[in-house]
Amino acid sequence: MKNTTTSLRIQRLVKTLATLHTFWVLVILLLLCIGFSIITPPGTFLSVINFKSLAADSSQLIILTIGAAYLLISAGIDLSTGSSLVLNTVLTLKVMIWLSSVTSVTIAIIFGVLFAALFGIVIGIINGLLVTKLRIPSFIATLGTMGATLGFARLASKGTNVPGVPKELMHFINTEIFGLPLIAYIALFLVILASIVLKYTRFGLHTIAVGSNMESARRAGIRVEYTQIIVYALMGLMVGIVAIIDLGRFGVASIAAHTTDNLQAIAGAVIGGTSLFGGRGSILGAAVGAFIPSVLRNGFIILGLQPFWQEVAVAFVLLAAVYFDQWRREQMQKIESQMSTAPLEEPSASSD
């Protein structure tokens, strides 16, 4: 009987830990916002304009974080996100500029969007193939593509920012609906969609199973490599979507931006409760987690601090989040070893 209550208590503990996690991230986020509201001059951090800008900034990162969370859940990682985003913006813009010189701007934008998505997916598939077919550890494989894509971006742009985003795209991306930027709705839609796919579809289950125990997944007949490649491609698609948003928001393919987007996306996912060791994670949590790097950057800029401080802060937050994840795993293992002698049968009366 004692063991039965232990086992039930553990299940409750697991549940509360999971729900608590997102709750605590929300609390920290709120505290950050309150803190920044107090220490910044009135009407700066706490203002409608800043709130909109924050929503737009966060939306971009949230979309990348969705991809990062899927990858981490499948026990993969992508360090090339930021660099391939830069390359994507440069190439997409070049394609758009060239197309608008030969056809109409509308067609140029449509094909530009398709190109961005397709190019993102191709880079993702390359990452996936490096990891699955060449069996290069994901950390090193995507470190390689990170270097290569950044190099290509600098080559293609000759090392300077590329201007000339069609005004029509900028107008469209900066549209507001009910006082919120369009891209916030795009991000929200993608978060909900990704959440549903992870929870209720075969692909979602296979992603979790591959990250949870690759060998078991393989023995169960799951196409492990295929699943991994699709998850990398998904990350690439997110990069493509963000590339279009970025071009539309800033009107320029910026060569120096996004260098730490990879870290920020991973940090957002891990802060939101996604495990670096695969098998566990929540898209909703990751989306909430992604606000923390965004709010830090926003607050630091308003405070007049060098925005580079944000990078330092995000790095520390990431380390803390990973440490917490590890600590949680260790606690679980301790509990597990304690209950390895629990009975095979649970008296049905005790189940609630």
Binding site: S7, Y200, A209, G279, A342, L344, E346, D352
Partner: protein
């Protein structure tokens, strides 16, 4: 004389799993050096041997985790090539691996249906949406059928005790197996009463006509249910005994490599 011949013929016809001259090498190491093996319908064979004798390797050749370098495998009299776990399952062969092969973060129900999920009806099912309530209902039934009550099949496998995990792995294999059940150390790390439950499951599956191979170090337990004991030593068959007439001494001497004389 005629009668025994017919009986022999029947036995051959009834072989649900038959392997001839199975050879498996890992680099320069020969793990299996020409193993002949036969399993009949409704028969429980205990596969025993010292560590490294090749028991798990042989089972993994049957379950498709490894591919034999040489030799032939027949299932129900039909020669087959088992290239993957998927293929072995297609032939009605299910395996409980020593590590249980569960995804710890995935729910018990999803573990039971992993790789053969039930889709929802209609258009949602077509695009990959799964019928979790139905899978939970059936997984719950599968697990109850092996005489175990779990508080819920919705909790992740890692929150189960060692015995409960073993029960889930066995319930899964039993539910899907139509011909052969391969069990690698199914009673390892189980208590006395839990072991009894596992042995009961094996007996019940045998009565349903399943051919069952059990690898176990727990000789006393396994002899209670086995019809035959096959001893492997250094990748070769070192003994093949009828369980009713065998003694521990016979088995142990075969395991240790002393010549056995009837």
């Amino acid at each position: 004389m005629m009668e025994t011949d017919i009986r022999e013929l029947e036995k051959v016809q009834n072989a649900v799993l038959k392997a001839k001259n199975i050879v498996k090498r890992f680099g320069h190491v020969q793990a299996l050096g020409g193993v002949d093996f036969e399993l009949k319908r409704g028969e429980v064979v205990a596969l025993v041997g010292d560590n490294g004798a090749g028991k798990s390797t042989l089972i993994k050749c049957f379950s498709g985790v490894y591919q034999a370098d040489e030799g032939e495998i027949e299932i129900d009299g039909v020669p087959v090539k088992i290239n993957s776990p998927m293929e072995s399952r297609y032939y009605g062969v299910e395996t409980v691996f020593q590590d249980l092969s569960l995804a710890p973060d995935v729910s018990v129900a999803a573990n039971v249906f992993l790789g053969r999920e039930i889709e929802r009806h209609g258009i949602l099912g077509k695009i990959g949406f799964l019928d979790y309530p139905e899978m939970q209902k059936r997984a719950d039934k599968f697990i109850r059928e092996v005489g175990v009550n779990l508080p819920s099949v919705e909790i992740p496998a890692e929150s189960l005790s060692g015995g409960q995990r073993q029960a889930v792995a066995i319930a899964r294999a039993r539910a899907w197996a139509s011909k052969v059940l391969l069990l690698d150390e199914p009673t390892a790390s189980l208590g006395v009463r839990q072991t009894e439950i596992v042995l009961d499951i094996i007996k019940a599956s045998k009565d349903r006509g399943m051919g069952i191979v059990v690898i176990s170090h727990d000789l006393p337990s396994v002899l209670k249910i086995a019809d035959r004991v096959v001893v492997l030593r250094l990748g070769k068959v070192a003994g093949n005994f009828q369980a009713e007439s065998v003694t521990y001494a016979d088995v142990v001497s075969a395991m240790l490599g002393k010549e056995f004389k009837a």
